[in-house]
């Protein structure tokens, strides 16, 4: 059963209050006040001195469990929201692999599910390891990218993106944080580039996410009452408040404290929230928890994964 053997997260120390982003992003006063009052945003993290590769490297360097195990890593998968982040033929992922003694691994990037690509990468890692003849093989899932344009920094009326990175060591049969289920629903009809479906997307956002969450919980053989904690995507607070209201799930069991402190960190939110949960001792052995996210851009993807700690 796919398991998360270790998770490391890099969140830059540099933070920008959302009011300071008004000018560069062209936000009106009321848009900023809405972000603060209802979306729960306060400050956003950036790493102005780090390149895309340096972001990834910072996360991997924090993964102590990788030391001495590099030879076991067969796959390195970068889950990323943006399809293109550097000019061809640069490849930060391959650079980082070479620098960290992982040049032998099969390394590739998935972006097809936008901000849900991090969970997709974990699921793919599990599939690849399950089919690998070496039962000791490991996969390294990376997330992290730059909020390098206005488009990459802002979802109008919804969220502000920051920068951060994560590194997650995945095994096929690890003893901890075992993945019990994964459900994703891809909705090509919500493609933002070729159609004007924004209002319908907004209308169906919460019911669609609730549906995959309920399916993931059921597939794990559980009910919502069994879920100790939800590790959300940090899109904003009000979305989760309303989603919880819709599902009849207590919002107090959704870890939202990183929303004001980080902003929305592309595919990294789930892993950053996992680290926060561990640091605060919110998960006990045997607890079930759920990770959920939505990727929007070229279509939309609603994803949920259930784990047992």
């Amino acid at each position: 059963m796919t398991a998360l053997d270790a998770v490391s997260v890099y969140t830059p120390a540099f933070r920008v209050p959302i009011e300071d982003l008004a000018d560069p992003l062209g936000l009106t006063d009321i848009q900023v006040r809405l972000f603060r009052r209802f979306h729960g945003l306060d400050q956003v993290r950036f790493a102005p001195d780090r390149s895309p590769g340096e972001l990834l490297r910072a996360a991997v360097e924090g993964l102590a469990e990788l030391r001495g195990q590099e030879h076991r890593v067969r796959y390195v998968i970068h889950g990323r929201a943006m399809p293109v982040v550097v000019p061809y033929p640069h490849n930060p992922l391959h650079d980082v692999c070479r620098q960290l003694g992982l040049g032998h691994a099969l390394a590739f990037t998935v972006t097809q599910q936008s901000c849900a690509s991090g969970l997709l990468a974990v699921e793919l890692a599990g599939r690849l390891l399950a089919g690998d003849p070496d039962e000791n093989a490991l996969a390294l899932v990376l997330t992290g990218e730059k909020a390098f344009t206005r488009h990459a920094r802002l979802i109008p009326g919804t969220s502000l993106f920051g920068e951060g990175a994560s590194a997650c060591l995945v095994s096929a049969n690890g003893p901890r944080d075992r993945m019990l289920s994964f459900v994703c629903a891809q909705r090509g009809d919500f493609d933002g580039e070729f159609g004007d479906r924004e209002e319908e997307f907004q209308r169906q956002y919460r019911p669609s996410l609730a549906e995959v969450i309920n399916r993931a919980v059921a597939d794990a053989g559980l009910t919502l009452d069994d879920i100790r904690l939800v590790l959300p995507h940090n899109v904003n607070v009000v979305t989760w408040q309303r989603l919880c209201s819709l599902m009849g799930f207590p919002v107090q069991r959704v870890l939202l404290s990183n929303v004001p402190d980080h902003g929305h960190l592309f595919c990294t939110d789930a892993f950053a929230n996992y680290r926060t949960a561990r640091e605060r001792d919110l998960l006990r052995e045997g607890d079930h928890y759920l990770v959920a996210t939505v990727g929007a851009g070229a279509g939309a993807t609603f994803s949920a994964m259930v784990f047992q700690h």
């Binding site: 209308r203 408040q241 309303r242 819709l246």
Partner: protein
């Protein structure tokens, strides 16, 4: 839940309706009167993000904080339903 048993201050509710209709006229650029029975999404074209802008402006005009955690947008479809919720689920700043 929308907590239908919540106490509603009728004077506050009147002020909420007044504020809501004033703000809504501007937000949806409508000259004609806005009445309590109007469906906000279908008749007035209020999206969820525009709805938040409405809540923020009503809060600021009336000096109240709305308990949005208890709000069920799917059950608050008309201007009057939202006004009742706000009057029953808000407190002074």
């Amino acid at each position: 839940m929308t907590a239908p048993d919540a106490q509603v201050d009728s004077a506050l509710r009147d002020r909420v309706v007044q504020a809501m209709t004033t703000v809504l006229k501007r937000l949806v650029e409508r000259e004609e009167p806005i009445t309590e029975d109007m469906h906000m999404a279908d008749e007035l074209g209020v999206s969820s993000s525009l709805g938040l802008e409405l809540l923020l402006e009503v809060e600021e005009q009336l000096g109240i904080q709305i308990d949005v955690e208890r709000m069920r947008p799917d059950e608050l479809l008309t201007v009057g339903e939202l006004a009742t919720f706000i009057a029953g689920h808000s407190r002074p700043w």
